[in-house]
Symmetry: C2
């Protein structure tokens, strides 16, 4: 008689963005003709840039001819893409990452959900609070938490690192024993905050001293505008022995519907393991992830990997930089407008998210409902990202400029 994985039952209700989608659907059903402006989910709106479209067409043609058709690709991705990443994302930043340390995937969501598998089930986990729900939910599903405390909005057994205006949204080291796995995301989703070089270096040192692994999500690095913010954790000394990095083409080049990402596992991440027969063995996390990747995944589509390569061409670099600049103009506009309207505003400088304090004593969901009902504007309730996100709210800069201006005008008009 089979049994289910009961850890799934610990997860309360549905996934944040599903809930939002349902509320919005109910609103639009009830208010036909009213135009809803969506600044909730972090999905891009600009089409793929010409360099990428051209590369896709070319690759599709290759797939239609016997001489150039490609079936199963190399397990960790095509070298043409990994080599570009080495050059542009690492060498250019003074970071030492080799091509074979990069594993191409179908996106950072898959990787950030799957990476926990290579660690023991009794590993302790630390996440920032608020946090991108995937890090937490996937560890709950694997059984690394106790039960959910609905009143507090937290899981037993998980270490939460509060990130609020009071600490400038920068996590402090937890009291007591160091966690085994530490998820960090900079520029941060949802707060838009960044870890500056010095702050990130302190975490790298902490991980090395305590035998922790940092799972560093760099999905938003293309949005960094300030000089002292690392684009990769491998800009920090010692990161090769303690950090795995997750990268994405979703926000950098608008690939949310195309699906491409990468995980970097340096060979220097090694662990001594005692075998049952008393001998010890040194195991590379690279070997474990390679095995996971090769056994449960069969590569990102060839045509999509060619699209990724095109992002690094001269035209691709220019065109994707223009997209990023377009979204950042939205972020800047929101930041300034909301500030003028009297809100406490954060993020938006090195990230496509603006993070605001809700007015008065409103909860995040009250503010969500108010904006939806009175302004037909959709954002994301901060409490959906964790208890310390309560009384905060996320606006995404991924809409059109016109919609951004219109949404801000509608919010200003509410005089909250």
């Amino acid at each position: 008689m089979y049994q289910i994985n009961e850890n799934y039952l610990k997860l309360p209700g549905s996934y944040l963005f599903s809930t939002i989608a349902k509320k919005v659907a109910a609103f639009t059903d009830a208010h036909q003709g009213e135009r809803v402006i969506r600044m909730g989910i972090g999905d891009v709106t600009k089409p793929l840039c010409p360099a990428v479209i051209q590369a896709l067409h070319k690759a599709v043609d290759e797939m239609g001819e016997a001489e150039t058709f490609r079936g199963y690709g190399p397990e960790n991705g095509y070298a043409f893409l990994r080599d570009k990443m080495v050059e542009f994302d690492y060498k250019a930043r003074g970071a030492e990452i080799r091509s074979d340390e990069i594993f191409i995937s179908d996106g950072a969501k898959s990787d950030s959900g799957n990476i926990q598998e290579i660690f023991s089930l009794d590993s302790t986990v630390a996440v920032c609070d608020p946090v991108y729900p995937v890090y937490l939910d996937t560890n709950v599903m694997a059984g690394r938490s106790g039960d959910y405390d609905a009143a507090k909005g937290i899981y037993a057994g998980i270490t939460y690192l509060p990130c609020t205006a009071e600490n400038d949204f920068t996590p402090a080291f937890p009291a007591g024993k160091a966690p085994d796995l530490i998820y960090l995301c900079s520029p941060n989703n949802p707060t838009g905050a960044v870890m500056r070089k010095e702050a990130l270096q302190r975490w790298v040192d902490y991980a090395n001293e305590n035998g922790s692994v940092i799972l560093f999500d760099a999905a938003y690095e293309a949005y960094i505008t300030e000089a002292d913010v690392p684009h990769t954790i491998y800009e920090c000394e010692g990161a090769r022995t303690c950090a795995i990095e997750l990268r994405s083409f979703s926000k950098k080049a608008g690939f949310t519907g195309l699906r491409l990402g990468a995980t970097v596992v340096p060979h220097d991440l090694r662990k001594k393991v005692k075998r049952a027969d008393g001998t010890t063995e040194e195991v590379e996390l690279h070997a474990l992830w390679s095995r996971r990747h090769g056994t449960k995944f069969n590569g990102a589509p060839y045509i999509v990997q060619r699209a990724g390569e095109a992002v690094y061409s001269a035209e691709g670099q220019r065109e994707t930089a223009e997209q990023v600049a377009y979204y950042m103009r939205n972020a800047h506009y929101m930041y300034e407008t909301l500030k003028k309207a009297g809100f406490s505003v954060y993020g938006g400088v090195n990230a496509p998210y603006v993070w605001v304090k809700t007015p008065g004593d409103m909860t995040s969901w009250e503010f969500f409902d108010t904006l939806l009902e009175k302004a037909a504007v959709v954002g994301t309730p901060g409490s959906g990202f964790g208890p310390h996100g309560e009384h905060y709210f996320r606006f995404s800069a991924f809409g059109t400029y016109e919609d951004t201006v219109e949404a801000m005008a509608r919010i200003q008009a509410l005089q909250l």
Copy 2:
């Protein structure tokens, strides 16, 4: 101090196809100029058909325009694709599957590796022997096995269902307690055998009687030529309460490099669960997989889903049927030639794999080395699929007809 998932260390050596790739690379290095014919890995060689190429170009163009650009898609895939599957893969076969019971994915390898996650870690697992390694390896990685016995080539705690010429490659029910999870694959990889309607119905009945779940891999259904072989397990009565089906576009339409598959989880698969507070709750496996899918995956690319849709157009159906027929001509040629050459030959009638008994007392790897060294032909050693695959060998029909003929001539010339 973090610890690794030590279950990974139970896996012996590297993945079967990696080992083959390394042996072939060593051979080609040593024998420059000698043309190796690859009939090992089950990768297709024919280019994508015109209907699919056309759909890809059209979808790429849509991604390049703001009005038609698509970002994140629906969590379980676009309805345009799921609806086609309902019509062609289920309704047309007299099987009742609803559109929302289908989850589109990036391929059957991912799904067949990930599906075990929704079951408890102490679930018992049965696999056919020989078997596609992914079913087994992913359960080992999750911790559902004991140690590997290198001498016997089996894991403790796993139920192996021998499939050999003696039982016509059809698994018998295991002695003793019924396993919780039963992996079945028909047409079978690697043996090319099929489960006829009656045989599959017996397994469905067995699963329903014993509270087991069947994980049915239908990746090769397009190769079925005989009438009494089910194309989907849902042709069997009662399958909706005990079976999850895995489907793939890889072999059906040559999508190995494009990545598209689907998992079907009927709403009737329900499990009563006792909560800590003594109450019971009925949980749908559909809800669990939906949660898994929505949390750790972000959809197959829009353009690839459009390509999948095109497979069901009139042209797509005709063109992919031609591809399948082309490969089946190879299978037929191999079957007849090897038989004439005195081999005991199986499969090849409803499957793109021909499964032969190795000549004399040769082990599978001895036969592999002989074919590689003396004929420059690569196949897959049966023992790589499990101990009961020893003394068998798999030939893939996915090459060109010319290569197939040439390979068979080379093997005949060896007079084994």
